[in-house]
């Protein structure tokens, strides 16, 4: 159907695409070409669920703000390449690659850091202070710093903004002689007695370690989270587990590929060889896209890649078995190739689209690694259709008229002659 020139153009186009893919694979060194997900490179993932306090609904704006604050805190911790995303259930997902002290990071990220200044009204029977209404919150701080007080105690000193300063002065001047409780996340940290009106700053006492003081200063500085967040899941993968998984999946992929290649050549001879060219292109383009898009590849994602090798071969098998069938019917090479492709096309498209539908649902409703899987599955399905329908077709039609294409090349043996003679007899 298509002209020889057309096929050459298609193949040339693929060579260009492959070139681009190679560029992306090798640009940062082959080792770093693919961005690995947390489960493969090691790291910490935290899923935080916003909790409604009282009757107040958690708004999207509040979650947006919380995401930003979390990102700020991570930044202050000095962790590189953090990822703070939100899933379909409005959970906040924090991904931190290769953190030394995951517990601390988890602790800091999840802290609400709601700072309140309240007057101690009285003391109940068991000695606990009874607090009055919140007079001021921590949102008017300009700076918070960990350090030591003059008597050697660990403290966090806070400096107010101009507005905060005025407010604090008002609060303190109205309550001289009373105790002012400094409450962090519901816990009374200290309750000094107000001797006179204070304006500029305040301190938090009663901290055990300097480390803790630093953490408190950090969360105060980045501001309080507008919603309370509950840690639903935290996961830390050490660097060795991920490396193991990666190595094993790569090995399975390579051995699997080799077995597939042997199978294809055994079943379809020369056609099998062409499909191996198609498969190599498939893997290269897949790799190139992953490298180019910088999509992080997760462990389920790798499983997706392994699975799509099967999908990619499927298109070839569908086409070749149809070609074989047509040849057995006694059609000419060209007609058999043409019919084979035409007949297989619908099945290929329909079966791949049903897979794509699921991949889309997975992406929309999945979390974390499952999303990664959906992405590789979808990319794999699209590239495999692309290579099988366009590239393999172009190669086949380019060589179809050459004398090398014999029934043996296609993997059809003697029965062809039997069929032909039968066909003649029937007539």
């Amino acid at each position: 159907m298509r002209s020889k020139v057309g096929n050459i153009v298609v193949i040339a186009l693929f060579i260009v695409i492959l070139g681009v893919c190679f560029y992306y694979i090798f640009i940062d060194g082959i080792q770093n070409s693919i961005k690995l997900g947390l489960d493969l490179r090691g790291g910490t993932q935290i899923i935080l669920k916003p909790v409604e306090t009282g009757t107040e609904e958690v708004t999207d704006e509040a979650i947006d703000k919380a995401q930003l604050i979390i990102l700020n805190r991570i930044d202050k911790l000095g962790i590189s390449e953090p990822l703070v995303t939100r899933d379909f259930n409005r959970n906040i997902i924090v991904q931190l690659p290769g953190v030394d002290d995951p517990e601390r990071a988890i602790d800091i990220i999840g802290k609400t850091a709601q700072l309140e200044f309240r007057i101690v009204e009285s003391v109940d029977d068991s000695g606990n202070p009874v607090l009055g209404p919140t007079l001021m919150t921590g949102d008017k701080l300009s700076k918070a710093q960990a350090g030591y007080s003059s008597n050697g105690q660990i403290i966090v000193s806070m400096i107010f903004t101009e507005e905060g300063s005025r407010q604090f002065e008002k609060v303190t001047s109205e309550n001289v002689g009373k105790q002012l409780a400094i409450v962090l996340d519901g816990e009374v940290r200290s309750a000094p007695r107000i001797k006179q009106a204070i304006s500029g700053d305040a301190v938090i006492e009663g901290i055990e370690t300097l480390e803790e003081a630093k953490d408190i200063a950090l969360v105060l500085q980045t501001g309080a989270l507008p919603v309370n967040l509950e840690i639903q899941e935290s996961q830390t993968i050490g660097p060795t587990l991920g490396q193991d998984s990666l190595r094993q999946s790569m090995l399975a992929g390579i051995i699997g590929f080799a077995l597939v290649a042997i199978f294809m050549v055994a079943m379809y001879r020369g056609l099998g060889l062409i499909s191996i060219i198609g498969l190599i292109c498939y893997v290269t383009i897949f790799w190139g896209i992953l490298a180019g898009l910088k999509t992080p590849v997760t462990l389920p994602g790798i499983a997706g890649v392994v699975l799509t090798i099967g999908i990619a071969v499927d298109a070839n098998i569908l086409i070749y078995s149809r070609i074989k069938e047509e040849v057995l019917k006694g059609k000419s090479k060209y007609a058999a190739f043409n019919e084979g492709f035409r007949n297989a096309l619908k099945a290929i498209i329909d079966s791949n689209i049903t897979t794509l539908i699921t991949a889309a649902a997975l992406y929309r409703f999945g979390t974390g690694p499952i999303r990664g899987f959906a992405v590789t599955l979808a990319i794999g399905v699209v590239i495999s259709m692309f290579t099988a329908i366009i590239l393999v077709r172009a190669i086949l039609f380019l060589v179809v008229n050459s004398r090398a294409i014999t029934p043996g090349f296609i993997g059809v043996k003697l029965p062809k002659i039997n069929q032909e003679t039968k066909a003649v007899k029937e007539k």
Partner: protein, 312 residues
């Protein structure tokens, strides 16, 4: 010719070839495949019974809890480890040896302080390597979110596939495709119930994958039937279905085998997570091929007999 006769004779024992001139076929799969349905239903029934008796072996993703994978600096037996854990007050922890000197320790959800106590005890009594191989903490009740998401994803996929197959084929094909899907899901679930393999988020991912993938076999068979109906006005529907199944059989087996190659390798060499994946996919892919050959076409034929207006 004499050479050819032998294998044909062998096949006769399994199924008699049906001779319809150019559209003859070797295996009378559709007429015999009530056995396929029986095998599947038995399997699902056994799975259901096992599920009712002891349920699934849910992982911490579903139950909530803490999982640490620890590499020890020296060799330690599971009994020694159990007694050390008992000494720390966690005698009920689930222990699993993964690699040399490496164990998974599963407990109830832990606070940071509790976790440190355990790790300090392990470090002083045996000696552990830091950082840990892995460490997960899941709040109880989180699974509700996962389950809800999964059900939504399954519902949307099924609806999408139903509509697509309906448009491309016909309503009976669409409904039977969905039936095959549900069959495949039930088979996977039965396997998890029978083998008592851990049921976790990986399992969910596998189920969703099979949802998308296992249908391709069914689609290929249906595609062939759709095509044959158009060109073959002579034979009965059962023969058309049989012929189509026969014609796609080599492809179905070929694709199943090639897809299974890497998965089998993963099953052999992979670590626990990878094995989890490979196991579910293995079952799902085989089940998908099985249902597309032995279940779907038969139901399609039964449907055609029941509602003759669909008979062409």
């Amino acid at each position: 010719m004499a050479v050819n006769k032998k294998p044909v004779k062998k096949i006769e024992k399994v199924a008699e070839p049906v001779v319809l001139g150019e559209r003859s076929y070797k295996f009378d799969i559709v007429r015999k495949s009530k056995w396929g349905v029986i095998v599947s239903l038995t399997f699902i029934a056994v799975g259901l019974v096992m599920f009712l008796i002891r349920g699934f072996n849910f992982g911490i993703d579903f139950l909530g809890g803490n999982l640490m994978e620890v590499k020890f600096t020296k060799s330690v037996s599971i009994t020694e480890l159990r007694s050390v854990m008992g000494g720390a007050g966690y005698g009920s922890a689930i222990l699993q040896n993964t690699e040399e000197n490496q164990y998974i320790i599963r407990t109830v959800p832990l606070t940071d302080a509790q976790k440190e106590t355990i790790l300090d005890t392990l470090d002083s009594k045996i000696g552990i390597e830091r950082p840990l191989v892995q460490d997960r903490n899941v709040a109880p009740g989180f699974s509700q979110t996962i389950i809800r998401n999964t059900l939504i994803a399954v519902a949307i996929s099924i609806a999408g596939i139903l509509i697509y197959v309906w448009i491309r084929f016909a309503v009976r094909f669409a409904l039977i495709a969905i039936l095959e899907l549900i069959h495949d899901l039930l088979i996977i679930l039965s396997f998890y119930a029978i083998t008592f393999r851990e049921f976790n988020t990986t399992t969910i991912a596998v189920i969703l994958t099979i949802l998308g993938y296992s249908l391709s076999d069914a689609i290929v068979v249906f595609d062939r039937i759709r095509e044959e109906i158009r060109v073959n006005k002579r034979d009965r529907f059962i023969d058309i279905s049989n012929y189509s199944v026969n014609k796609t059989l080599v492809r179905t087996i070929g694709t199943t085998v090639t897809t299974l190659f890497p998965i089998i390798i993963l099953l052999i060499i992979g670590n626990e997570t990878l094995k989890d994946f490979a196991f579910g996919l293995f079952i799902g892919i085989i089940s998908g091929s099985f249902s597309s050959v032995f279940i779907g076409p038969q139901i399609l034929v039964a449907w055609n007999n029941r509602f003759p207006k669909y008979k062409k």
